[in-house]
Symmetry: C2
Amino acid sequence: MDGIFDQNSIAATERGIRWLGEAGLRPTRQRVALAALLVGDGRNRHATAEGLYAACLACGERVSLATVYNTLRAFCEAGLLQEVTVDATRSYFDTRLDDHPHFYWEDTAELTDAPSEELQIARLPAPPPGTEVARVDVVIRLRRG
Amino acid sequence: MDGIFDQNSIAATERGIRWLGEAGLRPTRQRVALAALLVGDGRNRHATAEGLYAACLACGERVSLATVYNTLRAFCEAGLLQEVTVDATRSYFDTRLDDHPHFYWEDTAELTDAPSEELQIARLPAPPPGTEVARVDVVIRLRRG
DNA sequence: CTATGTGCAAATCTTTTGCAGGCTA
DNA sequence: TAGCCTGCAAAAGATTTGCACATAG
């Protein structure tokens, strides 16, 4: 399970459609359903393909797992999502697009945002000549104390 | 390719055997071969299973890919290696055990150490109640400029 | 000798792809 | 209508597992 997904309300659906529109993606039934689950309540989400697929079925929407994968990939390419890699066995897709730190809960394999104002990097290794920094991933791995 | 692996010299082999001994692992032929490739020259290595397997065959050692996987996993459990996750399609195993930053070269899918003295984290988000920080992964993703 | 490793092939799991049919603009 | 989407099943990779045989201590 990936957290509590919002019910597929009218408001959530509209928000999803608007979100797709911003990226110039056609609002097909499946895309709208997935978009509503991802951004319907305006909160950030860290979804896995499998989890989103389950949530979609639970809402009574008919989608194939392959389409969920293809759609998530399409959303990434359109700049609507960001892929975060923390676990070799699973990809996470983040609705928040800026460079920010994550908490990774090792026991539940859950990924959540860490408060970015609490992260201050005073100095960062300089990128080697001929390269530039594309992104800095900071993952704080948590263990139950 | 995962970098230049040291020739399977006597010195490298001995270093490998010592390394296994430290962790109380039996020095079987395959393990010694892999250990020599990993720590034979004393430098840090970021190996993938596939790459290590290829290097092993190139040295004329007979090993199966499954054994490489199982052995890398065993080395991790014994505390000889650390798994680093930066790419969802591949696992990297690092011979350096302390918490340090990495450069990830997006174009070649290569992983290298970033100079840890150049990373200064002034402030880190506090772990939520009931949890403690297991590790902080910092991955600087590089793009060819 | 006995517990641990190893090899191989087959199984598993996540993700991608090919292609025929469906639906949006 | 034309082209982009979707569904399904099959393919593709990476990694793990089961089991018989080999080997270190």
